[in-house]
Symmetry: C2
Subunit: 227 residues, 2 copies
């Protein structure tokens, strides 16, 4: 039986040349509730997995070891999984406390992310690089000294993380990326996936019958009822 949580972060295989962890918090059960208007629970959970796959693909291209911090038991072929039942910030801070090399914290619902976009974060010359999400959130943080930092997601977390960085004495680069800033929570966000996605999330939406719809000059999405 799979444990409900783990006392230590999984350790990447010694043979791999990856030198730091990407921490990806993930909720596999009843995820993405604000998409209930267009996707049922099974579809929402599958879509959340597709977005996670797109994020993991970008992470692996960046030579990070992907570690999923999952709220529930979850298995993955290429990523390590730590099942953590505590709230999001506590789960991330539990992981940060164990990290002795640079760490990328990245959300699982930013399917437009690419290896090139991540390269701009992890190539920073500052102590920390951060990408805000739309609406005051934080979609990715790269930390060279992760044990000194603490995560404070929810609310205006971008401002909170900037304040915490200052308290830590970190120099900070704010990376200007539409691809990383775009998190997918609501029906309108599916437009961005259909327009700019290149991976599995877009494929999955198209398989479900989603396409762009243009009405009165505004771009939205529609779902073909027959599929």
């Amino acid at each position: 039986m799979q444990p409900r949580s783990m006392p230590f972060l999984p350790v990447p295989d010694n043979r791999c040349s990856m030198y730091f962890h990407a921490l990806i918090p993930f909720k596999p059960i009843n995820s993405k509730s604000r998409l209930s208007c267009v996707l049922d629970q099974t579809e929402r959970e599958a879509f959340a997995c597709m977005m996670l796959e797109d994020v993991i693909e970008a992470v692996l291209k960046s030579k990070c070891a992907a570690t999923i911090l999952s709220t529930h038991p979850f298995e993955h072929e290429t990523a390590l999984v730590a099942v953590r039942t505590e709230p999001l910030n506590e789960a991330i801070n539990w992981a940060l406390a164990q990290c002795h090399s640079p760490v990328l914290i990245i959300m699982s619902d930013i399917p437009l992310v690419t290896g090139d976009a991540l390269q701009r974060l992890i190539g920073t010359e500052k102590d920390m690089a951060i990408v805000p999400g739309r609406g005051g959130g934080t979609n990715a943080i790269f930390l060279k000294k992760p044990r000194r930092f603490r995560a404070d997601f929810y609310g205006a977390s971008f401002l909170d993380h900037m304040r915490i960085a200052e308290e830590c004495g970190f120099s900070v680069e704010v990376v200007d990326s539409f691809r990383i800033s775009t998190d997918v929570d609501e029906k309108e966000d599916l437009v961005e996936v259909l327009l700019h996605g290149r991976g599995r999330s877009r494929e999955y939406l198209e398989r479900l019958g989603f396409s762009l719809s243009i009405e009165k000059g505004r771009v939205g999405v529609k779902r073909n009822a027959h599929e």
Copy 2:
């Protein structure tokens, strides 16, 4: 009396070292109607001018000559003004036809834009660089051969512009910028100005009494009724 339109694009001063035009379409009258819920007409027009100022500042930092394509008579200290009464695409295409050097087409409602962000466009090695707006639009296009291109704004203009570039045989770079992708049309967009703005648009909103408000973990804006 100022003419209602001009047969030729204004020519930058010979003494300046700027070697190409930035075309900035602008509507000074009854602009930004989707902000009517929080700003009256005078305030919306003033806010549109502040956003234009932020865009012009970024443009001038990039060594472009800023040319405003204004729907109505308008005066500006540092930018050239061409009053054009035809619709947006026709006005831009009128200007493109006269351009013999590279051109930047940039929207006037993207106040987060910075000189650094523009540098990533105008430094492209491709024939054209483009930045999508959220929701399928286009917020900036840099063209090395402007006379061969034609603008097609409104609707899913990002896809239209990519298609037109292909018809022109242009190589294209899509530049990944949150700052340029963020156009300000609705109340929710003011959050981004208050959080990430560094110029006059943010100052103006703060002077009107706007500040961030956080309710149930979501970040919005509120306006102080006493100011």
